[in-house]
Each structure stands twice: as C-alpha cells, then as structure tokens.
C-alpha cells in the first residue's frame, strides 16, 4: 500500500513517515503542499493519503476537495493530521470528504488506529 504524506513541515513529514514505518507501512511518497500533492496523486499508484491542513500554496482542505473532484479520487482514503481542533474545522473536513481526523500531537498507535478504522470501513463497503 502506497501512502502519500502531505505536510509543509519537514519535521512532521519525517515523524509521520517514521510512524508509518513503525506500524508496517514503508512505501511512502511525500509532498510539502496541496498543489504538489495533487500532481503526485495524478501520477497514480497512491492508495492512502495523509494530509496536514495548514499549508502554503494549497491547504489540505482544498487538496482533499481537489482529490474528491477527480474520477480516480472519489474513493481514496484521506486521513487529516492537523492542529486545527475547532469543531467547525472538523465539520469542514467532513464536508470536504476527509475520512478521518487526527489531532497533532499524535502517537503511532493513534495513527494506526485511524488508518485501520478507515481501511475497515472501506473493506466493509
């Protein structure tokens, strides 16, 4: 399973990639903003997206909307990992088509739990 990790912070990308490695996912593609991530997604082969919200050029929310607007992006799992904790933000993420939401700082077990939850819902559908 290939992951696309989108975050403008190199530190955060590294922590997410390390966390994924710890829970058994080693195939990861990285992008530092939504616009670059859309290009990487269009190249194909991505099975799961983990994205931040606050990024330059294109936010994670706009990126999620962009993915959902593509024929090949309607069913791709999107997990948002962000510091934005306001309820209206979480609701906006739901509306944008995000499948689950993790607040920073997170631990690898929490990340695993959310990934598993998204995948199990997908498998059941």
């Amino acid at each position: 399973m290939r992951f696309l990790v989108v975050d403008d912070s190199a530190t955060m990308r590294r922590i997410i990639v390390n966390s994924l490695d710890r829970i058994g996912y080693t195939d990861v593609v990285e992008a530092d903003d939504g616009a670059t991530a859309l290009i990487k997604f269009a190249e194909g082969g991505i099975s799961f997206i983990i994205t931040d919200w606050n990024m330059p050029q294109m936010s994670g929310l706009d990126f999620a909307r962009g993915v959902r607007g593509r024929p090949d992006g309607k069913d791709i799992p999107i997990l948002m990992v962000t510091t934005r904790s306001a309820r209206e933000d979480i609701l906006a993420a739901v509306e944008a088509g995000v499948n689950n939401y993790v607040l920073k700082p997170f631990t690898p077990p929490v990340l695993k739990e959310k990934i598993d939850a998204v995948l199990s819902v997908r498998a059941a559908a």
């Binding site: 975050d7 403008d8 912070s9 190199a10 530190t11 955060m12 590294r14 922590i15 390390n18 966390s19 710890r22 919200w53 606050n54 990024m55 330059p56 936010s59 962000t82 510091t83 934005r84 904790s85 306001a86 309820r87 979480i90 609701l91 739901v94 499948n99 689950n100 939401y101 993790v102 607040l103 920073k104 700082p105 997170f106 631990t107 690898p108 939850a117 199990s120 819902v121």
Partner: protein, 246 residues
C-alpha cells in the same frame, strides 16, 4: 407733503437697540469667519508654534486697536493657535514614533520570530537525526541480545527503542510551536501595516481614515493554525464521534 405709505418710516426707539445688536452679532460672526479662514490658512502654511506666534503677533496688535470684544476674540484665537500648534507638534512627534516602531522594531521582531522558527526546525531535524541513529544502534543491540538468547537484555533494548520512538513523537512540538510563531509574526506584520497606514494619515492631503480600520488585509500567506495547542482531548473525541464507524 404727505409721505407715501411705502416710504421708510423712522424705527421705533424700542427696536433700534435690537437691530444694533443684530448688526453687532453679524459683525462678530463675520470677523470670526474671517479669523477662522486665516487660522486655516496659517495652519496650512505653517507647522510650528513659533511660526504661528510670529504670524499671530501683528494680528493681536490690530485687535488692540479695535473694540474690546474683538480684542477678546483675538486673544481667544491666539490661545487656539497655540493649542492647535502644540497639537500639531505632538502629532508630528507621534508620527515619528509610530514610524520608528513600524519601520524598525516590528520588522526586527518579525525577523526574530522567523529566526526562532528556523532554529527550532533545525534543532528538531538534529534531534530526529540523532534519534534515528540511536534507534539503529538499539535495534542492533536488540538483535544481538536475541541471537545470544539474553531475554532480559533483549527486553530492555526493546523498551529503550520504544522510549526513543516516544521522544520522536514529542518532536511534534516543533510544528505546533512554529504555527504559533507564524501566527505571532502575522499579527506583527498586520500591526506594522496598520501603523504605516496610520502614519500616512498624518501626511499632507491624506484623509482616508477608513483605510486603517477597513482596508487592512494581511498579504502574508496564512498557513498556520492560530489556535495550535498540544492538548486537544475534547476535540479529538468530537472528531472520533464524527468519523466513527458509519
């Protein structure tokens, strides 16, 4: 000869003082209007109280030659000149201070915040590099302990590796901190712009006051969360309830 009914009759004695009074008020109003126009012109031409005093002195002399009420008016206007001149001087001083704060201090503060963000990013990268190396060493030791079937050491290395991963997780503070610093920097930039607009109001012919309160928009890209904090248990619970199995 009989006078015509339309001819002007002499005014009754009772009316005469009132008319004189009205005439006198009109004169005063006219004089005031003229004086205010002169004030306006003087304020436009001059900036310092010294200049204003120089202009006002001959006027005071003229006033002394006139009636008592006009002299009093001239004296009042002189005081007004002094007040307005003093106010103008203070505004100029304030403008200087605002400009200094806007140009130098806020800009310096913004640069410092950017420097702190870069420093924490650099430190975080260094910590992650060190943790990667430490985890690699511990993993090797763990494998050696496993090969030598030393279960106690193996368990200790495993625990140590988990601790190191835990530290790696805590490095997320850097992202949260940098977002808060980004917000602080944006507030400073916004304040800088507002001060700049405010000082521009003191420039000649600048009168667009609304620009200070309404026209300010941050040109800096806002890719930070102003409410970025570490403890968000309630919000995560809300998200979990929302994204739970459906």
């Amino acid at each position: 000869m009989r006078s015509s009914p339309c001819a002007r009759r002499p005014e009754p004695e009772a009316i005469r003082p009132m008319a004189t009074q009205v005439q006198s008020h009109n004169d005063v109003l006219h004089a005031t209007d003229t004086a205010l126009r002169l004030v306006n012109q003087a304020l436009g031409d001059l900036g310092t109280s010294e200049n204003l005093a120089r202009i006002a002195a001959p006027m005071a002399e003229k006033g002394a030659e006139g009636s008592g009420s006009l002299l009093s008016l001239a004296s009042t206007l002189l005081r007004a000149y002094a007040e307005v001149a003093s106010l103008l001087d203070r505004i100029k001083q304030s403008r200087g201070l605002l400009q200094e704060a806007s140009d130098a201090r806020l800009d310096q503060m913004n640069k410092k915040l950017t420097a702190v963000t870069s420093a924490t990013e650099l430190a975080a990268t260094g910590m992650l590099d060190g943790l990667d190396r430490a985890i690699a060493v511990v993993t090797e030791l763990e494998q050696e302990a496993e090969e030598s079937q030393d279960l106690v050491r193996h368990a200790r290395y495993t625990a140590l590796r988990e601790e190191l991963y835990g530290v790696m997780t805590h490095v997320q503070f850097q992202d949260i901190t940098s977002q808060q610093l980004g917000y602080a920097a944006a507030v400073i930039s916004d304040t800088e712009r507002r001060l700049e607009q405010l000082t521009n109001l003191f420039e000649p012919f600048a009168a667009d006051v609304s620009a200070v309160s309404n026209g300010v928009t941050s040109s800096a890209p806002k890719h930070f969360d102003p409410n970025a904090v570490a403890d968000k248990t309630d919000s995560q619970a809300f998200a979990d309830a929302l994204f739970g199995p459906r």
